[in-house]
Symmetry: C2
Subunit: 338 residues, 2 copies
DNA sequence: ATGAAAGCGCTAACAG
DNA sequence: CTGTTAGCGCTTTCAT
């Protein structure tokens, strides 16, 4: 290890022939420093390659300029072929980068992970915390908020916390109802659904949308459950077909599961959409490339990330009012599968 | 904001009726504390919900228990449909999680990003730094290493740095040569390649493998270049076909580009592998699901991540000898496309 | 085995 | 406008 000692404020001050306070002012861009002195300090900083020690700075400012995004999932899940997480992260990155804040990504799939994350945040490593992909009634957001840590969520929390936590979400129900109505307009009458996990608001709301639309039409429901993965879509589709070989349409609560469903349907020789119409939810890029291209409900995931990041920045800098809830619109995108 | 003041060591000490030093010992698991006192301290810690302030701790220990993974790419690239990055991250996560270190992911696609990353690392935010997906002769790893920060790379650095930086890589050339030989065994004689970007070792080495194998066989080469994205694969394949409509095989330097190539070939009505045999490089999950399933060179990306993380842990804790280079094997996986 | 004391490197009053 | 002075919360000798 080379371990060239890193220079401190003190060293810079000595070299420039001024006090530590003055160097600190220059480094932090204070305007009340004489030009000549500032130049001398700047030169000393460059000559020494001085970079402020963040730990020391945080200790006194109580700020870290970092913000965490917590995903209550395993790393294997987050970094799989699922395209939801990447999109959220992309949105968050865009916004934080513009604000020159560092993103700290934390996966907390296990109980140990949850513990780690809580310690990390409580230890003052970050100025604020974002949650995405929440399951059930995760107590962590509320707990951190109660500790005075700024918190926002993407996805409406399943149980309202005290204090209330700001969140972004999309209009799941509206999107799904548009999708099911489209199937009805197509003349389909045996419309099944592959629902998402029922410990997540996205799973619950999309199922509610389906149920509402079918009830409005006076048709019976037909539900199988998956967990948003492609594989679970395959399995669920097979179950649906076993229950009702004559079904003529299926609304699938995520694109990944819809791709699984397409595969399962093809395996039974069914033509899409002639025999069975399929609609997904997400509108990922690859859904345009599948065979046939997938009709799906578009949700603006990147925007959710951006919005959430905007909210946390507002809380952290206490500079803007942060809305308690933002609900982004969804939209049916019709392609060849329905 | 609730801002319940977070308790300090001092508070715990008062409550337990001991000195700060003793509380510190208990919190850090020192064995030289009387059982009775330790219990009292532990109780006080729990009652107050005490969590050590990481900034203060880092200030004195000079350690953060965090390690950065730096990806010299834009967030949009890292979190796209490319499956390389997720796999690396997954491997890294697995290993760091086991060591209870926090992963800090940093994208540094722009010059501003590079700057940010350098400041961040130099400011002592992390104990060590990993690089993946390096382009050209990126000076950053060398610079950080010279500052005494432990650094490792995935992918052999293009220009050896001083001090030498440990790295992991895979046997690109061996894998590619096996692939091209397979095409030769199949009787193919007009074998083209879609090469990766030539500012990356992975791009260079895979092209070298192709060239070597063709030269050994006494056949002419036929090269188009892409940048590892699907779209660039489509374009490159079209160029190759325009140059030589009679080509009967193509080795593509990444699976994503290979999927693009398959699409471009299908669009011209060519049958795969009857008319043109295609081999990729990566062996992503989806390559088994493409039409037809892709013959490809398997590289153990997750293992690269794990290995790299192991190396950095060794450097950071200075507990194990860290090999200067680890080269993981690759292997041809034959499926229907060749 | 425990406590007292000295900083780690920095910022932020407060004087001057 | 600049310097002096206190700490931020913690670990770690060094005594006891």
């Amino acid at each position: 290890m080379v371990t060239r000692e890193r220079p401190t404020l003190e060293a810079v001050a000595r070299r420039a022939g001024v006090s530590r306070a003055t160097v600190s002012r220059v480094v932090n861009g204070s305007t009340t420093v004489a030009a000549a002195i500032r130049d001398a300090v700047v030169r000393a900083v460059e000559e020494l390659g001085y970079v402020p020690n963040q730990a020391a700075r945080s200790l006194v400012t109580q700020r870290t300029e970092s913000i965490a995004l917590i995903l209550p999932e395993s790393a294997s899940r987050v970094f799989s072929d699922d395209l939801f997480f990447p999109a959220v992260i992309r949105g968050v990155s865009l916004e934080l980068e513009a604000a020159d804040k560092q993103l700290v990504l934390m996966m907390a799939g296990s109980a140990a992970g949850q513990e780690r994350v809580q310690r990390y945040a409580t230890a003052g490593h970050v100025d604020g915390v974002m949650f995405a992909s929440m399951h059930g009634t995760d107590p962590l957001p509320g707990r951190l908020a109660r500790l005075g840590i700024p918190v926002v969520c993407s996805g409406r929390p399943m149980s309202p916390a005290h204090p209330a936590i700001p969140y972004v979400d999309v209009d799941h129900i509206g999107g799904v109802m548009a999708a099911v109505r489209h199937l009805l307009d197509l003349g389909r009458r045996r419309i099944a659904t592959i629902a998402g996990p029922q410990d997540m608001v996205a799973g619950i709301d999309r199922l509610t949308g389906y149920r509402t639309a079918l009830r409005d039409a006076g048709l019976p429901e037909h539900v199988a459950y998956g967990d948003f993965t492609r594989e679970s879509g395959i399995q669920a589709m097979r179950r649906l077909l076993a229950d009702d070989p004559a079904l003529d349409a299926v609304f699938v609560a995520s694109d990944m599961m819809a791709h699984g469903a397409l595969q399962a349907l093809r395996e039974t020789g069914r033509r899409i959409p002639a025999d069975v119409a399929v609609i997904g939810f997400d509108d990922f890029e690859i859904s345009r490339l599948s065979d046939p291209p997938l009709t799906t409900v578009h949700q603006p995931i990147v925007d959710m990330g951006r919005t959430m990041a905007g909210q946390i920045l507002g809380l952290v800098t206490a500079t803007a009012d942060v809305p308690a809830a933002v609900v982004l619109p969804t939209k049916l995108v019709v392609r060849a599968s329905a």
